[in-house]
Amino acid sequence: MASKETILKLAALISTDGCLTGNPKRLKIRFTNKAESLHKIFVELIKEVTGDKVGIVTFMNKDEVKTTEINSNRLTRFFRWLMTKNKLLPVHILEKSDERTLREVLKLMFSCDGSPVFTLKFDKRKKNLEKGQKNKICFKK
């Protein structure tokens, strides 16, 4: 049985760069991201939850972005139920989580494609960063 922390981390990845899809007979969890390391984490979490019992397929889409697909009706139904159709993180697990778990979940969410967007001011003449400019980290989803 997977820990609540594992399920929350997996939900974080699915809610940011994944989707629950397929027809009613063949449901899938699909994770699409450029970073190889995130795919490895995703697969490890899936194996922790299922005990190595599901089919995992990886391929590149037409934009050469890697996709990892899990063919599991049971797992997809479970996450649909857990996260609701709005792709929310499971609130009851989130509220009971400790700070370490929250940090890990945020690390995963901020590491997914599209977030964060860094807007650093760069001085081309000096070839370094301008001091004291408005640097920020954004989360856009």
């Binding site: 940011t16 940090r103 945020l106 969410m109 590491s111 920020k136 989803k141």
Partner: protein, 69 residues
């Protein structure tokens, strides 16, 4: 709603992010510093191809931000 959940988690960890309709922004020096020390990014996650920082990892750019203060 997902944005609000992320903002809530950041607040629980003592950060004070700004929230707009479509994004959460962490821009205070104290918050970026805390983010860098306590959260960071997964190692080797690259910057996007559209970014002028393409070729570097997100953590490397984060360290640039910290060194620019």
């Amino acid at each position: 709603m997902l944005l609000l959940q992320v903002a809530e988690m950041l607040k629980k960890l003592g950060l004070s992010p700004q929230i707009s309709e479509s994004e959460i922004i962490i821009e205070k020096k104290r918050d970026i510093d805390k983010f860098s020390k306590e959260i960071r990014f997964v190692e080797d996650v690259p910057m996007s191809k559209n970014s002028k920082w393409f070729g570097l990892s997100k953590n490397e750019v984060l360290d640039f931000i910290i060194s620019s203060f």
